[in-house]
């Protein structure tokens, strides 16, 4: 009706709203409330620069910081049957899945990569809490089995970062069956004599804790991570009393003998290198940020390498014994 209300005002508004500070530049630390500049936070591996609170980190960001030069090849995970139960609550399960895929840009709640950390060849699997709470369904089960098989095939240690609310209810009993399934995967590693290192991150709960996350050769946790079978709320409802401060947190579990170590995220990479090298009988590592390996399939661009790796046997595997030779410092 009125060109001022219909045209001028929206135009002015749009100009001003564009000038508003983009929301993704800053985030607030949930623990101490400090406003953190995004790039600074990313550089600090999503750890609050003020209070050292460990915020969530996606598997891809973690891999970028973990692997030498950020280079790894993605291990292909077999696709499971989609929505086997035709599950529907307030939303259909496939719709929830699609929404999670859209917001995270990932196919599912676990990413598996093969590459080198400190020139130590490893296979790494990381669970994505931002994808439907990291919940363990058939895909996550398949991913862990694929990771274990890859590790056995390449004779490498498996490092697993857990983060999950538990089993994925929308897959019903089939998600529960991932507990024995993933246990079989862990057994494959043990039989092959390969180390299986679990890094428990915030939060690791329910069926995930009660299967592969608690079966590691070495258990490391990030500070203050919630690690439990039954969540604190469920326990409070059951026993009708308030739980003490720090209950079921990483430090508490360390005190109760469930973990080997609690390690700050910035020291994690070095520690993993140290541990895996000792267990694999390799000489001490060269410290520092290393460029991506010069040869081998791990150095190739991720997606391409993943596709090729699925088709051809990995040429790096038989060469594994020679690897230590490359560990001499490069000029």
């Amino acid at each position: 009706m009125n060109w001022i209300t219909n045209y001028v005002r929206p135009t002015i508004n749009s100009i001003f709203s564009r000038r508003e500070m983009p929301e993704n530049l800053w985030s607030k630390c949930p623990e101490c409330g400090t406003m953190l500049f995004h790039r600074e936070l990313t550089d600090n591996l999503n750890v609050c620069t003020n209070c050292d609170h460990h915020l969530g980190i996606t598997p891809r960001e973690r891999f970028r910081a973990l692997f030498d030069g950020g280079a790894f090849s993605e291990v292909k995970v077999p696709e499971p049957v989609l929505d086997p139960l035709h599950f529907r609550d307030q939303k259909k399960y496939p719709d929830r899945l699609r929404a999670a895929q859209k917001t995270t840009g990932e196919a599912e709640a676990m990413l598996v990569g093969a590459g080198e950390i400190g020139r130590t060849p490893v296979v790494v699997a990381a669970q994505d809490f931002s994808f439907m709470g990291g919940s363990m369904g058939m895909y996550v089960g398949n991913a862990i089995i694929a990771a274990a098989e890859k590790a056995v095939e390449m004779k490498r240690p498996l490092i697993l970062f857990s983060a999950a609310g538990g089993a994925r209810m929308q897959e019903g009993i089939l998600s529960l069956m991932q507990m024995p399934r993933t246990t079989v995967a862990v057994q494959m590693l043990k039989e092959a004599g390969l180390p299986y290192i679990v890094v428990l991150t915030h939060p690791t709960t329910g069926g995930v804790t009660a299967s592969y996350a608690m079966l590691g050769d070495v258990h490391i946790a990030e500070p203050n991570a919630l690690i439990c079978f039954a969540g604190p709320r469920v326990i409070e409802q059951t026993i009708r009393e308030k739980l003490p401060e720090g209950f079921q947190r990483a430090e508490y579990l360390l005190d109760h003998g469930m973990l080997d170590r609690v390690t700050h995220r910035k020291h994690l990479r070095d520690e993993l290198i140290t541990i895996t090298r000792m267990l694999m009988g390799l000489p001490p590592a060269v410290r520092g940020d290393l460029p991506p390996p010069e040869e081998g399939p791990d150095a190739r661009p991720q997606s391409e390498a993943a596709a090729q790796q699925a088709l051809t046997p990995d040429p790096a595997a038989p060469k594994a014994p020679e690897k230590p030779a490359k560990d001499t410092p490069k000029p």
Binding site: P80, V81, D83, P84, L85, H86, F87, R88, D89, Q90, M138, G141, I145, A167, M169, E171, G172, I173, L174, S175, L176, M177, Q178, M179, P180, R181, T183, V184, V186, Q187, G206, G207, T209, A210, S211, Y212, A213, M214, L215, C228, F229, A230, V234, I235, T238, I239, L243, F247, Q248, H256, G257, M258
Partner: protein, 319 residues
Amino acid sequence: MNYLDFEKPLAEIEGKANELRALAKTSEGMDVEKEAAALDAKAGQMLKDLYGGLTAWRKCQVARHPDRPHCKSYIEALFTEYTPLAGDRNFADDHAVMGGMARLGDRPVMVIGHEKGHDTKTRIERNFGMARPEGYRKAIRLLDLADRFNLPVVTLVDTPGAYPGKGAEERGQSEAIARSTEKSLQIGVPVVSVVIGEGGSGGAVAFATANRVAMLEHSIYSVISPEGCASILWKDAEKMREAAEALRLTAQDLKQLGVVDRIIKEPLGGAQRDRAATIKAVGEALESMIGELADKSRAALIKDRRKKFLDMGRKGLAA
């Protein structure tokens, strides 16, 4: 006799029939048999209708029925020379898990199961069938013993879930469950399992990691209780009927999904109406499942068990 809420009309009719008969006993010369028989027939038909098409939620109620035979009832009726073994050798003995050596027929076996208790006193003693880490560690010990002395393992699953308590968490509930599942996958003897009531999530899976898994017709086995699922996904614990339906937790659905191998038929009106017949049917199923595995080598048993679980979930429900 305890009646479930959906059995109310049935309770009324059966109550009337009983009243009539009681009345006839006190007053001489009154013939009520005809009317009582008519009521019985009506009740019989109603029972058939009710149990012919139990919804998932009603099945949950039947699976949790207090009069259903529990682990102890099966052990007492089916096994001889039952010798209970106690303790995890670390901390305590968990009464929610019972187990020990026994003979099934002539064959010595190791039997392990969750026991819920049948009255207030025993329920508290048994912690309502919710095991603590000690229960799972006791099971690991018994599984190991069975493995070393070649005893087939029989497990009876009936638990609402592992106990969500402070002490249980402190002593590593998740680690205990994980290790017991691991042990179940490692042993070179036949492992057969029957879900006799509730198969509650992680608390059940360790015991049901077997070469053969059977379920009673009206038992359930689920990743989460319908109430828990409803409160998380529907944000309303009262939506348990919908959740029970969606979770596909009935024996029939699980058979179709390939998670269980066989369904053991229950008497009309559920196990609680004819405990002896139910126990007998379970005994026959156990004999038959152990029989199927008796000739297999240790390596084959381990391999079969692993393959069974690795293959699980390859097929979904038909649309």
